[in-house]
Amino acid sequence: MIRPAMLIHLTAAFLVFLCTSAFAAEEQVNFQVQPDSIIIDALYNGTTLTVTGNVPADSEVVARFVGTPTDLHMKEKGKVFGLLWMNLESLTFKNVPNICIVCTSKDLKDGTSSPNPALQELELSGLKSSVQVESAANIDPQKDIEELLKLKQDEGLYRQLTQKLTYEAASSGMKTFKATIPVPSRLSPGKYTVEVAAVRNDEIVARASMPVDVALTGFPALLSTLAFGNGAMYGILATVIAVLAGLGIGLVFQSKGAH
Protein backbone atom coordinates (compact mmCIF):
# COMPACT_ATOMS: atom_id res chain seq x y z
CA MET A 1 0.00 0.00 0.00
CA ILE A 2 1.36 3.42 -0.93
CA ARG A 3 1.77 5.88 1.85
CA PRO A 4 0.47 9.46 1.41
CA ALA A 5 3.98 10.92 1.81
CA MET A 6 5.32 8.65 -0.91
CA LEU A 7 2.41 9.61 -3.14
CA ILE A 8 3.25 13.28 -2.72
CA HIS A 9 6.89 12.58 -3.62
CA LEU A 10 5.93 10.59 -6.69
CA THR A 11 3.49 13.28 -7.85
CA ALA A 12 6.14 15.95 -7.36
CA ALA A 13 8.69 13.90 -9.30
CA PHE A 14 6.21 13.34 -12.14
CA LEU A 15 5.46 17.07 -12.29
CA VAL A 16 9.19 17.91 -12.43
CA PHE A 17 9.59 15.34 -15.21
CA LEU A 18 6.69 16.84 -17.15
CA CYS A 19 8.06 20.37 -16.77
CA THR A 20 11.57 19.31 -17.82
CA SER A 21 10.23 17.42 -20.85
CA ALA A 22 8.14 20.41 -21.90
CA PHE A 23 11.12 22.73 -21.53
CA ALA A 24 13.36 20.39 -23.54
CA ALA A 25 10.77 20.12 -26.30
CA GLU A 26 10.42 23.87 -26.33
CA GLU A 27 14.12 24.41 -26.99
CA GLN A 28 14.28 22.22 -30.09
CA VAL A 29 14.37 22.87 -33.80
CA ASN A 30 12.70 20.32 -36.04
CA PHE A 31 12.77 20.78 -39.78
CA GLN A 32 12.72 19.09 -43.15
CA VAL A 33 14.07 20.16 -46.53
CA GLN A 34 12.38 19.70 -49.88
CA PRO A 35 13.99 18.50 -52.08
CA ASP A 36 16.47 16.76 -49.78
CA SER A 37 19.06 16.56 -52.61
CA ILE A 38 19.69 18.53 -55.79
CA ILE A 39 20.15 16.83 -59.15
CA ILE A 40 21.85 18.89 -61.84
CA ASP A 41 20.75 17.83 -65.31
CA ALA A 42 21.47 19.55 -68.63
CA LEU A 43 18.61 22.02 -68.16
CA TYR A 44 19.34 22.93 -64.50
CA ASN A 45 18.97 26.67 -63.98
CA GLY A 46 18.88 27.12 -60.22
CA THR A 47 16.27 25.74 -57.85
CA THR A 48 14.47 26.52 -54.59
CA LEU A 49 14.85 24.64 -51.33
CA THR A 50 11.79 24.75 -49.09
CA VAL A 51 12.64 24.40 -45.41
CA THR A 52 9.67 23.78 -43.09
CA GLY A 53 9.67 23.00 -39.41
CA ASN A 54 8.92 24.26 -35.94
CA VAL A 55 10.79 26.30 -33.36
CA PRO A 56 9.91 27.74 -29.92
CA ALA A 57 7.06 30.21 -30.33
CA ASP A 58 8.97 33.16 -28.88
CA SER A 59 12.07 32.73 -31.08
CA GLU A 60 13.14 33.93 -34.51
CA VAL A 61 14.51 31.63 -37.22
CA VAL A 62 17.76 31.82 -39.17
CA ALA A 63 18.03 29.29 -42.02
CA ARG A 64 21.21 28.90 -44.10
CA PHE A 65 22.28 26.93 -47.16
CA VAL A 66 26.09 26.63 -47.12
CA GLY A 67 28.73 24.82 -49.11
CA THR A 68 31.68 22.92 -47.68
CA PRO A 69 34.48 25.38 -46.83
CA THR A 70 37.54 25.17 -49.10
CA ASP A 71 40.65 27.20 -49.99
CA LEU A 72 40.43 29.91 -52.64
CA HIS A 73 43.49 31.30 -54.46
CA MET A 74 43.16 34.88 -55.65
CA LYS A 75 45.11 38.02 -56.53
CA GLU A 76 44.86 41.29 -54.70
CA LYS A 77 44.62 44.40 -56.89
CA GLY A 78 46.71 47.40 -56.07
CA LYS A 79 48.15 50.53 -57.66
CA VAL A 80 51.58 50.52 -59.24
CA PHE A 81 53.37 53.88 -59.16
CA GLY A 82 50.16 55.34 -57.73
CA LEU A 83 48.56 55.22 -61.18
CA LEU A 84 47.87 51.82 -62.73
CA TRP A 85 45.69 49.09 -61.18
CA MET A 86 47.29 45.66 -61.38
CA ASN A 87 46.92 42.19 -59.90
CA LEU A 88 49.67 42.23 -57.28
CA GLU A 89 49.78 39.97 -54.23
CA SER A 90 48.73 36.31 -54.35
CA LEU A 91 46.28 35.47 -51.57
CA THR A 92 44.84 32.25 -50.26
CA PHE A 93 41.54 32.47 -48.43
CA LYS A 94 41.04 29.54 -46.11
CA ASN A 95 37.72 28.11 -44.98
CA VAL A 96 35.61 29.77 -47.69
CA PRO A 97 32.20 28.19 -48.47
CA ASN A 98 31.43 28.42 -52.19
CA ILE A 99 27.83 29.34 -51.37
CA CYS A 100 26.19 30.93 -48.34
CA ILE A 101 22.51 31.91 -48.54
CA VAL A 102 21.07 33.17 -45.25
CA CYS A 103 17.32 33.60 -44.67
CA THR A 104 16.07 35.42 -41.59
CA SER A 105 12.60 36.60 -40.59
CA LYS A 106 14.09 40.03 -39.89
CA ASP A 107 17.53 41.55 -39.87
CA LEU A 108 19.34 40.30 -36.81
CA LYS A 109 20.04 43.37 -34.66
CA ASP A 110 18.50 45.53 -37.44
CA GLY A 111 21.31 44.86 -39.86
CA THR A 112 24.15 45.77 -37.51
CA SER A 113 26.60 43.12 -36.50
CA SER A 114 25.37 41.10 -33.58
CA PRO A 115 27.48 41.29 -30.40
CA ASN A 116 26.83 37.61 -29.73
CA PRO A 117 29.59 35.66 -31.55
CA ALA A 118 27.46 32.52 -31.88
CA LEU A 119 24.65 34.51 -33.44
CA GLN A 120 27.00 36.53 -35.61
CA GLU A 121 28.41 33.28 -36.99
CA LEU A 122 25.07 32.63 -38.67
CA GLU A 123 25.09 35.89 -40.60
CA LEU A 124 27.11 36.66 -43.72
CA SER A 125 29.23 39.04 -41.67
CA GLY A 126 30.12 36.04 -39.49
CA LEU A 127 32.33 34.78 -42.33
CA LYS A 128 34.68 37.66 -41.48
CA SER A 129 35.80 35.73 -38.42
CA SER A 130 35.71 32.21 -39.85
CA VAL A 131 37.63 32.94 -43.09
CA GLN A 132 41.42 33.31 -42.81
CA VAL A 133 43.84 34.91 -45.26
CA GLU A 134 47.31 33.67 -46.13
CA SER A 135 49.63 35.97 -48.04
CA ALA A 136 53.34 36.68 -48.35
CA ALA A 137 52.76 40.35 -47.52
CA ASN A 138 49.53 40.38 -45.58
CA ILE A 139 48.80 44.00 -44.81
CA ASP A 140 45.10 44.13 -44.03
CA PRO A 141 43.40 40.71 -43.97
CA GLN A 142 40.05 42.12 -42.81
CA LYS A 143 39.90 44.40 -45.85
CA ASP A 144 40.67 41.42 -48.12
CA ILE A 145 37.89 39.37 -46.50
CA GLU A 146 35.43 42.23 -46.92
CA GLU A 147 36.40 42.43 -50.62
CA LEU A 148 35.86 38.67 -50.92
CA LEU A 149 32.36 38.98 -49.40
CA LYS A 150 31.63 41.85 -51.80
CA LEU A 151 32.79 39.77 -54.80
CA LYS A 152 30.75 36.73 -53.75
CA GLN A 153 27.69 38.92 -53.17
CA ASP A 154 28.15 40.47 -56.65
CA GLU A 155 28.23 36.93 -58.07
CA GLY A 156 24.99 36.08 -56.22
CA LEU A 157 26.70 33.28 -54.26
CA TYR A 158 26.47 34.99 -50.86
CA ARG A 159 23.10 36.47 -49.95
CA GLN A 160 21.24 37.48 -46.81
CA LEU A 161 17.48 37.53 -47.39
CA THR A 162 14.71 38.73 -45.09
CA GLN A 163 11.67 38.21 -47.30
CA LYS A 164 11.93 34.45 -47.73
CA LEU A 165 10.86 33.30 -44.27
CA THR A 166 7.31 33.18 -42.90
CA TYR A 167 5.63 31.88 -39.71
CA GLU A 168 2.29 30.24 -39.10
CA ALA A 169 0.19 30.29 -35.94
CA ALA A 170 1.82 29.03 -32.74
CA SER A 171 0.43 26.22 -30.64
CA SER A 172 1.74 24.27 -27.63
CA GLY A 173 4.64 26.68 -27.27
CA MET A 174 5.93 25.98 -30.78
CA LYS A 175 5.40 27.75 -34.09
CA THR A 176 5.88 26.49 -37.59
CA PHE A 177 8.05 28.28 -40.14
CA LYS A 178 8.66 28.07 -43.87
CA ALA A 179 11.83 29.32 -45.56
CA THR A 180 12.30 29.32 -49.32
CA ILE A 181 16.01 29.38 -50.11
CA PRO A 182 16.88 30.32 -53.70
CA VAL A 183 19.79 28.14 -54.85
CA PRO A 184 21.77 29.86 -57.63
CA SER A 185 22.40 28.36 -61.07
CA ARG A 186 26.13 28.62 -60.37
CA LEU A 187 26.31 25.42 -58.37
CA SER A 188 28.93 22.70 -58.32
CA PRO A 189 28.32 19.11 -57.25
CA GLY A 190 29.32 18.32 -53.68
CA LYS A 191 28.19 18.30 -50.06
CA TYR A 192 26.07 21.19 -48.84
CA THR A 193 24.25 21.79 -45.56
CA VAL A 194 21.00 23.41 -44.50
CA GLU A 195 21.27 24.84 -40.99
CA VAL A 196 18.38 26.19 -38.93
CA ALA A 197 18.77 28.09 -35.66
CA ALA A 198 16.18 29.43 -33.22
CA VAL A 199 17.21 32.81 -31.80
CA ARG A 200 15.79 34.54 -28.73
CA ASN A 201 17.14 37.77 -27.23
CA ASP A 202 20.31 37.55 -29.35
CA GLU A 203 20.98 34.04 -28.07
CA ILE A 204 20.83 30.82 -30.08
CA VAL A 205 18.47 28.64 -28.07
CA ALA A 206 18.48 25.66 -30.44
CA ARG A 207 20.00 24.68 -33.76
CA ALA A 208 20.04 21.74 -36.14
CA SER A 209 21.49 20.91 -39.55
CA MET A 210 20.80 18.56 -42.41
CA PRO A 211 23.03 17.54 -45.36
CA VAL A 212 21.94 18.29 -48.94
CA ASP A 213 23.86 16.46 -51.64
CA VAL A 214 24.27 18.06 -55.05
CA ALA A 215 25.05 15.64 -57.90
CA LEU A 216 25.32 15.74 -61.68
CA THR A 217 23.21 13.44 -63.81
CA GLY A 218 22.82 12.58 -67.49
CA PHE A 219 24.97 14.42 -70.04
CA PRO A 220 26.65 16.82 -67.56
CA ALA A 221 27.71 13.82 -65.44
CA LEU A 222 29.08 12.00 -68.50
CA LEU A 223 31.02 15.05 -69.68
CA SER A 224 32.38 15.81 -66.22
CA THR A 225 33.57 12.21 -65.72
CA LEU A 226 35.40 12.26 -69.07
CA ALA A 227 36.90 15.75 -68.54
CA PHE A 228 38.25 15.01 -65.05
CA GLY A 229 38.92 11.30 -65.55
CA ASN A 230 40.63 11.38 -68.96
CA GLY A 231 41.59 14.96 -69.75
CA ALA A 232 43.78 14.21 -72.78
CA MET A 233 41.08 12.11 -74.47
CA TYR A 234 38.49 14.77 -73.66
CA GLY A 235 40.74 17.48 -75.20
CA ILE A 236 41.33 15.45 -78.38
CA LEU A 237 37.60 14.72 -78.72
CA ALA A 238 36.73 18.40 -78.14
CA THR A 239 39.23 19.37 -80.85
CA VAL A 240 38.08 16.76 -83.37
CA ILE A 241 34.41 17.66 -82.91
CA ALA A 242 35.22 21.37 -83.21
CA VAL A 243 37.16 20.76 -86.47
CA LEU A 244 34.37 18.57 -87.88
CA ALA A 245 31.71 21.10 -86.91
CA GLY A 246 33.76 23.89 -88.51
CA LEU A 247 34.20 21.84 -91.69
CA GLY A 248 30.51 20.88 -91.69
CA ILE A 249 29.37 24.47 -91.45
CA GLY A 250 31.93 25.42 -94.11
CA LEU A 251 30.58 22.75 -96.48
CA VAL A 252 26.98 23.82 -95.87
CA PHE A 253 27.93 27.34 -96.88
CA GLN A 254 29.79 26.03 -99.93
CA SER A 255 26.76 24.10 -101.16
CA LYS A 256 24.55 27.11 -100.59
CA GLY A 257 27.03 29.29 -102.46
CA ALA A 258 26.90 26.95 -105.46
CA HIS A 259 23.26 27.67 -106.16
Binding site: A42, K77, L88, R186, A242
Partner: protein
Protein backbone atom coordinates in the same frame (compact mmCIF):
# COMPACT_ATOMS: atom_id res chain seq x y z
CA UNK B 1 6.97 23.29 -78.19
CA UNK B 2 9.07 25.50 -75.93
CA UNK B 3 12.80 25.44 -76.53
CA UNK B 4 14.60 25.66 -73.18
CA UNK B 5 16.74 28.79 -73.05
CA UNK B 6 19.14 27.72 -70.31
CA UNK B 7 21.75 25.01 -70.35
CA UNK B 8 23.96 23.80 -67.50
CA UNK B 9 27.70 23.75 -68.22
CA UNK B 10 29.32 21.01 -66.11
CA UNK B 11 32.92 22.23 -66.29
CA UNK B 12 32.06 25.92 -65.84
CA UNK B 13 29.67 24.91 -63.02
CA UNK B 14 27.00 27.37 -64.10
CA UNK B 15 24.00 27.54 -66.38
CA UNK B 16 23.86 30.01 -69.26
CA UNK B 17 21.31 31.37 -71.68
CA UNK B 18 21.91 29.45 -74.91
CA UNK B 19 20.80 32.28 -77.17
CA UNK B 20 23.10 34.79 -75.47
CA UNK B 21 26.05 32.44 -75.99
CA UNK B 22 25.10 31.76 -79.63
CA UNK B 23 24.85 35.51 -80.29
CA UNK B 24 28.17 36.19 -78.60
CA UNK B 25 29.77 33.48 -80.75
CA UNK B 26 28.19 34.99 -83.87
CA UNK B 27 29.59 38.47 -83.26
CA UNK B 28 33.08 37.24 -82.46
CA UNK B 29 33.04 34.84 -85.43
CA UNK B 30 32.11 37.73 -87.69
CA UNK B 31 35.22 39.65 -86.59
CA UNK B 32 37.31 36.51 -86.96
CA UNK B 33 36.11 35.98 -90.53
CA UNK B 34 36.68 39.59 -91.54
CA UNK B 35 40.06 40.21 -89.92
CA UNK B 36 41.61 36.79 -89.30
CA UNK B 37 41.93 37.35 -85.55
CA UNK B 38 40.92 34.80 -82.93
CA UNK B 39 38.66 37.11 -80.96
CA UNK B 40 39.79 35.93 -77.51
CA UNK B 41 40.31 39.54 -76.46
CA UNK B 42 36.53 40.10 -76.75
CA UNK B 43 35.09 36.67 -76.00
CA UNK B 44 36.87 35.92 -72.71
CA UNK B 45 35.84 39.09 -70.79
CA UNK B 46 32.26 38.78 -72.03
CA UNK B 47 32.06 35.16 -70.89
CA UNK B 48 33.42 36.17 -67.48
CA UNK B 49 30.68 38.81 -67.31
CA UNK B 50 28.15 36.01 -67.92
CA UNK B 51 29.41 34.16 -64.83
CA UNK B 52 31.91 31.76 -66.42
CA UNK B 53 35.11 31.31 -64.36
CA UNK B 54 38.07 33.06 -66.09
CA UNK B 55 40.15 29.91 -66.59
CA UNK B 56 37.19 28.05 -68.15
CA UNK B 57 36.29 31.07 -70.30
CA UNK B 58 39.81 31.34 -71.77
CA UNK B 59 40.26 27.59 -72.36
CA UNK B 60 36.77 27.02 -73.83
CA UNK B 61 37.30 30.04 -76.05
CA UNK B 62 40.37 28.33 -77.53
CA UNK B 63 38.24 25.25 -78.25
CA UNK B 64 35.63 27.29 -80.10
CA UNK B 65 38.36 29.11 -82.07
CA UNK B 66 39.44 25.68 -83.38
CA UNK B 67 36.02 25.31 -85.04
CA UNK B 68 35.69 28.91 -86.14
CA UNK B 69 39.16 29.05 -87.66
CA UNK B 70 38.57 25.68 -89.42
CA UNK B 71 35.46 27.15 -91.01
CA UNK B 72 37.26 30.45 -91.76
CA UNK B 73 40.38 28.73 -93.13
CA UNK B 74 38.21 26.57 -95.41
CA UNK B 75 36.36 29.62 -96.71
CA UNK B 76 39.62 31.50 -97.33
CA UNK B 77 41.26 28.40 -98.86
CA UNK B 78 38.48 28.24 -101.46
CA UNK B 79 39.18 31.88 -102.28
CA UNK B 80 42.91 31.11 -102.64
CA UNK B 81 43.76 33.22 -99.61
CA UNK B 82 45.86 30.75 -97.59
CA UNK B 83 49.65 30.70 -98.00
CA UNK B 84 50.39 27.30 -96.47
CA UNK B 85 54.17 27.59 -96.85
CA UNK B 86 54.25 30.92 -95.03
CA UNK B 87 51.70 29.72 -92.48
CA UNK B 88 53.70 26.61 -91.60
CA UNK B 89 56.92 28.60 -91.15
CA UNK B 90 55.14 31.12 -88.91
CA UNK B 91 53.55 28.27 -86.99
CA UNK B 92 56.89 26.55 -86.45
CA UNK B 93 58.34 29.84 -85.19
CA UNK B 94 55.26 30.38 -83.03
CA UNK B 95 55.68 26.99 -81.32
CA UNK B 96 59.36 27.68 -80.60
CA UNK B 97 58.55 31.23 -79.43
CA UNK B 98 55.66 30.04 -77.28
CA UNK B 99 57.91 27.56 -75.48
CA UNK B 100 60.56 30.25 -74.90
CA UNK B 101 57.86 32.75 -73.85
CA UNK B 102 56.49 30.43 -71.15
CA UNK B 103 59.98 30.25 -69.59
CA UNK B 104 60.40 34.04 -69.83
CA UNK B 105 57.10 34.64 -68.07
CA UNK B 106 58.17 32.28 -65.26
CA UNK B 107 61.34 34.33 -64.73
CA UNK B 108 59.38 37.60 -64.91
CA UNK B 109 56.92 36.38 -62.30
CA UNK B 110 59.76 35.39 -59.98
CA UNK B 111 61.22 38.89 -60.35
CA UNK B 112 57.84 40.42 -59.39
CA UNK B 113 55.84 43.10 -61.18
CA UNK B 114 55.45 40.81 -64.21
CA UNK B 115 51.81 41.82 -64.59
CA UNK B 116 52.84 45.46 -64.76
CA UNK B 117 55.34 44.79 -67.56
CA UNK B 118 52.84 42.62 -69.44
CA UNK B 119 50.01 45.12 -69.27
CA UNK B 120 52.12 48.14 -70.16
CA UNK B 121 53.78 46.27 -73.06
CA UNK B 122 50.36 45.18 -74.30
CA UNK B 123 48.88 48.69 -74.23
CA UNK B 124 51.95 50.23 -75.86
CA UNK B 125 52.10 47.57 -78.60
CA UNK B 126 48.41 47.80 -79.36
CA UNK B 127 48.62 51.60 -79.39
CA UNK B 128 51.63 51.66 -81.72
CA UNK B 129 50.35 48.96 -84.09
CA UNK B 130 46.80 50.33 -84.17
CA UNK B 131 47.94 53.94 -84.53
CA UNK B 132 50.42 53.16 -87.32
CA UNK B 133 47.94 51.01 -89.26
CA UNK B 134 45.21 53.60 -88.86
CA UNK B 135 47.31 56.53 -90.10
CA UNK B 136 48.90 54.50 -92.89
CA UNK B 137 45.56 53.19 -94.16
CA UNK B 138 43.98 56.62 -93.93
CA UNK B 139 46.77 58.06 -96.05
CA UNK B 140 46.46 55.27 -98.59
CA UNK B 141 42.71 55.76 -98.82
CA UNK B 142 43.17 59.46 -99.38
CA UNK B 143 45.70 58.60 -102.08
CA UNK B 144 48.38 60.67 -100.43
CA UNK B 145 51.42 59.25 -102.12
CA UNK B 146 54.73 59.55 -100.45
CA UNK B 147 57.26 61.20 -102.70
CA UNK B 148 59.96 58.75 -101.77
CA UNK B 149 60.01 55.69 -99.58
CA UNK B 150 61.13 56.23 -96.01
CA UNK B 151 64.85 55.54 -95.58
CA UNK B 152 64.10 53.11 -92.77
CA UNK B 153 61.93 51.08 -95.12
CA UNK B 154 64.51 50.84 -97.88
CA UNK B 155 67.13 49.77 -95.33
CA UNK B 156 64.71 47.10 -94.23
CA UNK B 157 64.27 45.91 -97.84
CA UNK B 158 68.03 45.78 -98.28
CA UNK B 159 68.37 43.80 -95.10
CA UNK B 160 65.70 41.35 -96.24
CA UNK B 161 67.47 40.81 -99.56
CA UNK B 162 70.77 40.13 -97.80
CA UNK B 163 69.39 37.26 -95.75
CA UNK B 164 70.17 33.69 -96.89
CA UNK B 165 67.65 30.96 -97.85
CA UNK B 166 65.61 33.23 -100.15
CA UNK B 167 62.34 31.58 -101.12
CA UNK B 168 59.40 32.35 -103.41
CA UNK B 169 56.02 32.53 -101.67
CA UNK B 170 53.75 32.33 -104.71
CA UNK B 171 50.42 32.68 -102.93
CA UNK B 172 51.57 35.85 -101.18
CA UNK B 173 53.46 37.07 -104.22
CA UNK B 174 56.63 37.81 -102.26
CA UNK B 175 60.21 36.55 -102.25
CA UNK B 176 62.08 36.56 -98.96
CA UNK B 177 64.32 34.50 -96.72
CA UNK B 178 62.59 31.66 -94.90
CA UNK B 179 64.34 32.97 -91.78
CA UNK B 180 62.01 36.00 -91.78
CA UNK B 181 58.70 34.20 -91.12
CA UNK B 182 60.49 31.80 -88.79
CA UNK B 183 62.06 34.57 -86.67
CA UNK B 184 58.94 36.72 -86.70
CA UNK B 185 56.90 33.65 -85.73
CA UNK B 186 59.24 33.14 -82.76
CA UNK B 187 58.82 36.81 -81.77
CA UNK B 188 55.02 36.61 -81.92
CA UNK B 189 55.07 33.28 -80.07
CA UNK B 190 57.12 34.85 -77.25
CA UNK B 191 54.86 37.91 -77.04
CA UNK B 192 51.69 35.80 -77.21
CA UNK B 193 52.90 33.52 -74.42
CA UNK B 194 53.87 36.48 -72.23
CA UNK B 195 50.63 38.32 -72.84
CA UNK B 196 48.48 35.18 -72.63
CA UNK B 197 46.67 35.80 -75.91
CA UNK B 198 46.54 34.04 -79.29
CA UNK B 199 48.72 36.59 -81.04
CA UNK B 200 46.46 37.40 -84.00
CA UNK B 201 46.64 41.10 -83.25
CA UNK B 202 50.42 41.08 -83.48
CA UNK B 203 50.70 38.51 -86.26
CA UNK B 204 48.40 40.23 -88.73
CA UNK B 205 50.26 43.60 -88.76
CA UNK B 206 53.60 41.74 -88.93
CA UNK B 207 52.42 39.83 -92.02
CA UNK B 208 51.24 43.05 -93.63
CA UNK B 209 54.15 45.35 -92.83
CA UNK B 210 57.19 43.13 -92.34
CA UNK B 211 56.41 40.18 -94.63
CA UNK B 212 54.66 42.42 -97.21
CA UNK B 213 51.82 39.98 -97.75
CA UNK B 214 48.56 41.13 -99.38
CA UNK B 215 45.82 41.74 -96.79
CA UNK B 216 43.46 39.01 -98.05
CA UNK B 217 46.17 36.35 -97.93
CA UNK B 218 47.15 37.61 -94.48
CA UNK B 219 43.65 36.94 -93.10
CA UNK B 220 43.44 33.39 -94.49
CA UNK B 221 46.98 32.50 -93.46
CA UNK B 222 46.49 33.95 -89.99
CA UNK B 223 43.36 31.82 -89.49
CA UNK B 224 45.27 28.74 -90.66
CA UNK B 225 47.98 29.42 -88.08
CA UNK B 226 45.50 30.23 -85.28
CA UNK B 227 43.78 26.88 -85.93
CA UNK B 228 46.90 24.93 -84.95
CA UNK B 229 47.77 27.18 -82.01
CA UNK B 230 44.29 26.70 -80.53
CA UNK B 231 44.29 22.92 -81.11
CA UNK B 232 47.43 22.80 -78.98
CA UNK B 233 45.93 25.05 -76.26
CA UNK B 234 42.65 23.05 -76.14
CA UNK B 235 44.37 19.71 -75.67
CA UNK B 236 46.90 21.06 -73.16
CA UNK B 237 44.25 22.87 -71.08
CA UNK B 238 41.98 19.79 -71.06
CA UNK B 239 44.85 17.58 -70.03
CA UNK B 240 46.60 19.77 -67.45
CA UNK B 241 43.86 21.98 -65.97
CA UNK B 242 40.47 20.41 -66.93
CA UNK B 243 39.18 23.85 -67.86
CA UNK B 244 37.69 23.26 -71.33
CA UNK B 245 33.89 23.26 -71.22
CA UNK B 246 32.96 21.51 -74.42
CA UNK B 247 29.25 22.38 -74.24
CA UNK B 248 30.09 26.07 -73.92
CA UNK B 249 32.63 25.79 -76.74
CA UNK B 250 30.13 24.01 -79.00
CA UNK B 251 27.49 26.70 -78.49
CA UNK B 252 30.03 29.44 -79.15
CA UNK B 253 31.29 27.47 -82.13
CA UNK B 254 27.90 27.19 -83.81
CA UNK B 255 27.48 30.96 -83.49
CA UNK B 256 31.05 31.80 -84.43
CA UNK B 257 31.35 29.38 -87.37
CA UNK B 258 28.23 30.95 -88.90
CA UNK B 259 29.58 34.41 -88.08
CA UNK B 260 32.97 33.55 -89.61
CA UNK B 261 31.35 32.53 -92.91
CA UNK B 262 29.42 35.77 -93.00
CA UNK B 263 32.57 37.67 -92.00
CA UNK B 264 34.51 36.15 -94.88
CA UNK B 265 31.82 37.27 -97.33
CA UNK B 266 31.86 40.79 -95.87
CA UNK B 267 35.67 40.78 -95.99
CA UNK B 268 35.56 40.00 -99.73
CA UNK B 269 33.50 43.12 -100.35
CA UNK B 270 35.95 45.34 -98.52
CA UNK B 271 39.25 46.31 -100.11
CA UNK B 272 42.56 45.84 -98.32
CA UNK B 273 42.74 49.42 -97.05
CA UNK B 274 39.21 49.29 -95.66
CA UNK B 275 40.06 46.06 -93.87
CA UNK B 276 43.24 47.56 -92.46
CA UNK B 277 41.55 50.70 -91.16
CA UNK B 278 38.75 48.68 -89.55
CA UNK B 279 41.24 46.35 -87.91
CA UNK B 280 43.28 49.37 -86.76
CA UNK B 281 40.13 50.85 -85.20
CA UNK B 282 39.42 47.55 -83.44
CA UNK B 283 42.99 47.37 -82.13
CA UNK B 284 42.71 50.94 -80.82
CA UNK B 285 39.35 50.19 -79.14
CA UNK B 286 40.93 47.20 -77.37
CA UNK B 287 43.87 49.39 -76.35
CA UNK B 288 41.53 52.07 -74.89
CA UNK B 289 39.55 49.37 -73.05
CA UNK B 290 42.74 47.97 -71.54
CA UNK B 291 44.00 51.42 -70.60
CA UNK B 292 40.67 52.20 -68.93
CA UNK B 293 40.93 48.93 -67.01
CA UNK B 294 44.37 49.97 -65.77
CA UNK B 295 43.37 53.49 -64.75
CA UNK B 296 39.82 53.11 -63.36
CA UNK B 297 39.39 51.95 -59.77
CA UNK B 298 38.00 48.38 -59.86
CA UNK B 299 34.71 47.72 -58.05
CA UNK B 300 36.27 44.77 -56.20
CA UNK B 301 39.96 44.72 -55.30
CA UNK B 302 40.33 40.99 -55.85
CA UNK B 303 40.70 38.87 -58.98
CA UNK B 304 40.51 35.15 -59.65
CA UNK B 305 43.77 33.68 -60.86
CA UNK B 306 43.99 32.50 -64.50
CA UNK B 307 42.33 33.63 -67.73
CA UNK B 308 43.53 36.14 -70.35
Amino acid sequence: MVIPASLYLPIAGNSVNMFAILSLGGVVGLLSGIFGVGGGFLMTPLLIMMGIPPTVAAASDSNQIVGASTSGTLAHFRLGNVDFKMGLLLLLGGIIGGTVGVQIIKILRQMGNADFLINVTYVLMLGMIGGYMFVESLQAMRNIEKEKPAPKESAYVKFMNLLPFQMEFQRSGVKLSLLMPLLLGILVGILAAIMGVGGGFIMVPIMVYLLRMPMHVVVGTSLFQILFTCINVTIMQSWENHTVDFVLALLLLIGSALGAQLGTKIGRKLNGEHLKILLASLVLVVMVKMLYGLLATPSVLLAYTGGH
